[in-house]
């Protein structure tokens, strides 16, 4: 194959997708949605672990657990220390200079979420070396969503089933083939040495456009996010909070499964000879999250904690970064045990 410019469309037969996965697996650590007892999550996978292996014809559906955990794991060791306090930093924080991992079978909402997490962990003032190293060593291979799910509302938060934000290589269905678009140097690198692609012709592009137009209309939710964002700016003290949180159990599944939630706890695990400083996902839905040692808690009830979650995503994050911290993946909607639907909450505030 000759030179390819970023974004230049190529075509790969669906039959060759399995071969491409094996091509990737030969050079990179593959991270793909793996079924673990009924829960799909991104984890290290062999080429054959990916559904269908040799005759693979489509990417897996949106994983139950979000993509973030391959960059910001639920639990990780930051460093170890011995009894004298001698510190050894985890290898995961070491600077990296090459792409060694491929996240394969990512959906556009999850790819987009990475660009929001970057604003936190790869910020101008303090960089999180664990996240940054994993991010830089990983190429993201995304599959557009021809059939969005019932809880999806990506189009309401600036994304879409064909959104390319955060992806390095994008696959989109075009009839019996995939339109394959390298979006970065990382994405181009993945195609190097794989010959079963050709440049896209007009017919391929037309087929892809048709699928794309159809997909956009299938995203059911049309959530008034902009209106909600503008109302929330003055709604901290609004009586509406007394109502909207009532069903909430404070279980935190919405934050754990959210691809953009980034809150964490840091603590020590002591051993006889020293110990580890570990980081774990944490959640604003828990009372301990903000409890002072004195007993004072600035967010003492579920009302304040629920407000924090909504305000952080749709007001505070917007004020600090200019973007809503939501990609419309619908995981919080689908997994809430009491059907507390963030879309309805946003509608309620938009209507104030």
């Amino acid at each position: 194959m000759g030179e390819r410019g970023s974004g230049k469309a190529l075509v790969m037969s669906k039959r060759d997708l399995g071969a491409f996965v094996r091509h990737l697996a030969a050079s990179y650590t593959l991270l793909a949605p793996i079924d673990e007892g009924g829960v799909t999550r991104f984890a290290a996978a062999g080429a054959d672990d990916i559904r269908g292996s040799g005759d693979l014809e489509s990417a897996p559906a949106l994983s139950k657990r979000p993509l973030k955990e391959i960059f910001f794991p639920q639990e990780e060791v930051l460093f170890t220390f011995d009894a004298g306090g001698k510190v050894e930093v985890a290898a995961s924080a070491a600077p990296v200079d090459e792409v060694t991992r491929v996240a394969f079978g990512v959906r556009p909402c999850d790819a987009r979420s990475l660009t929001l997490l970057d604003l936190v962990f790869d910020a101008a003032d303090y960089k999180d070396p664990y996240y940054v190293s994993r991010r830089r060593s990983t190429a993201v291979v995304t599959f557009a969503c021809p059939e969005p799910g019932v809880a999806c509302f990506c189009t309401s938060v600036g994304g879409g089933p064909y959104d390319e934000t955060g992806s390095d290589l994008m696959f989109a269905e075009a009839g019996e083939a995939y339109l394959v678009r390298p979006l970065s140097a990382k994405g181009e690198g993945l195609l190097r040495g794989f010959d079963a692609v050709r440049e896209a012709g007009d017919a391929d592009l037309a087929a892809a456009r048709e699928a794309e137009a159809k997909a956009a209309t299938r995203v059911a939710g049309n959530v008034p996010v902009d209106a909600a964002v503008s109302k929330l700016a003055g709604a901290f003290g609004d009586a509406a909070w007394d109502d909207v949180h009532r069903k909430c159990l404070g279980c935190a599944v919405c934050t754990y499964l959210c691809p953009t939630c980034h809150c964490f706890d840091i603590g020590d695990e002591a051993t006889r000879a020293g110990g580890e400083r570990v980081r774990n996902w944490d959640s604003c839905m828990f009372p301990l999250f903000t409890l002072h040692a004195s007993g004072h808690n600035p967010r003492p009830s579920r009302k304040e904690r629920f407000r924090q979650r909504i305000m952080h995503k749709f007001n505070y994050f917007v004020e600090n970064n200019g973007r809503v911290a939501c990609v419309g993946c619908g995981r919080c909607v689908e997994n809430c045990p009491v059907n507390l639907d963030v879309r309805k909450v946003l509608e309620a505030f938009a209507a104030l």
């Binding site: 050079s27 960089k127 190293s133 994050f317």
Partner: protein, 288 residues
């Protein structure tokens, strides 16, 4: 493979410098507040640990965890850091059981600083309650240092605690009180046998002392209830919200604006604070 060249990720913000506790001072009669003087084991740490009054550090007791503690020493005191710590949670209790010679972790400095540049040429009124004097002490000693005393006007200190046994930095209070260029009032909540100083709550004493707001800045820290009444008393005395500065506490983990718990509205106390003017607080949600 390998097209993306990755820059050095730089300093790891989660890894503390190692420091040794070199001196422990018991501050209160109940022994629930101690001041820990610490020195970095690697003196080159000072090149990165340049702080100003108002900033804090994450202090580690290895095997127990970390807690955010304000730096009570002044940057004009070189070669060591001091932290005054109340024994109240897991980490602070473990610190209280750590003898001199213990190696602890210190990372930072974090947060903003007292607006020292804005205070130049102005009179400064320090209003502290209990261990709330700890963050103020850094600024007091900075202002009183030979290097900087000339940059500021009159200095007034109003400090109170529940009882004489709860007053911290007693030796220093005596030194400050003896200086001709400082007007200092120390008060306790209730009368005690042998106590010759003032009696009364800090806001009431502040009202009696009635500092003039012209060309002045008030800096306050103490229990939340004290701060609340100090703010209203200062307003009564004619201080504009811009002339009043305080410093807040929050539960924190990372100290660098990522772990998500110390925010008040869109402001992270660890990064945008801990020092705020009363003006800023009025514009923030009342959630602290």
């Amino acid at each position: 493979m390998g097209q993306a060249t990755i820059r050095d990720t730089g300093v790891n913000p989660y890894v503390p410098y190692l420091a040794m506790i070199t001196q422990i001072t018991r501050e209160t009669e109940a022994n629930d507040v101690k001041t820990f003087r610490v020195e970095f084991r690697d003196p080159s740490a000072w090149e990165r640990f340049r702080y100003m009054p108002g900033q804090f550090a994450e202090v580690s007791v290895f095997g127990v965890g970390e807690a955010p503690i304000s730096i009570t020493s002044s940057p004009t005191q070189r070669g060591y850091l001091e932290f005054s710590v109340k024994k109240i949670g897991r980490v602070t209790t473990a610190l209280h059981y750590s003898p001199e010679g213990t190696i602890i972790g210190v990372r930072g400095p974090y947060g903003n600083t007292f607006p020292v540049a804005d205070m130049q040429g102005k009179d400064i009124i320090f209003i502290g309650g209990g261990i709330g004097l700890a963050p103020l002490r850094s600024l007091i000693n900075y202002v009183l240092s030979d290097e900087h005393r000339g940059e500021f006007g009159q200095v007034r200190i109003i400090y109170g605690a529940r009882s004489s046994g709860d007053l911290v930095f007693k030796a220093e209070l005596e030194r400050w009180g003896a200086r001709a260029d400082i007007d200092q009032v120390v008060t306790i909540d209730r009368p005690e046998e042998g106590w010759t100083g003032r009696v009364g709550f800090v806001p009431a004493v502040l009202k009696e002392v009635a500092p003039r707001p012209d060309g002045a800045v008030a800096v306050t820290c103490g229990p939340p209830i004290m701060i609340k009444f100090v703010l209203s008393t200062l307003t009564e005395l004619g201080f504009a919200p811009e002339q009043v500065v305080t410093t807040l506490e929050m539960r924190m983990k990372c100290g660098v604006g990522k772990c998500g718990r110390c925010n008040i509205g869109s402001k992270y106390v660890c990064r945008d604070g801990p020092v705020f003017t009363y003006r800023q607080l009025l514009d923030m949600p009342q959630e602290y």
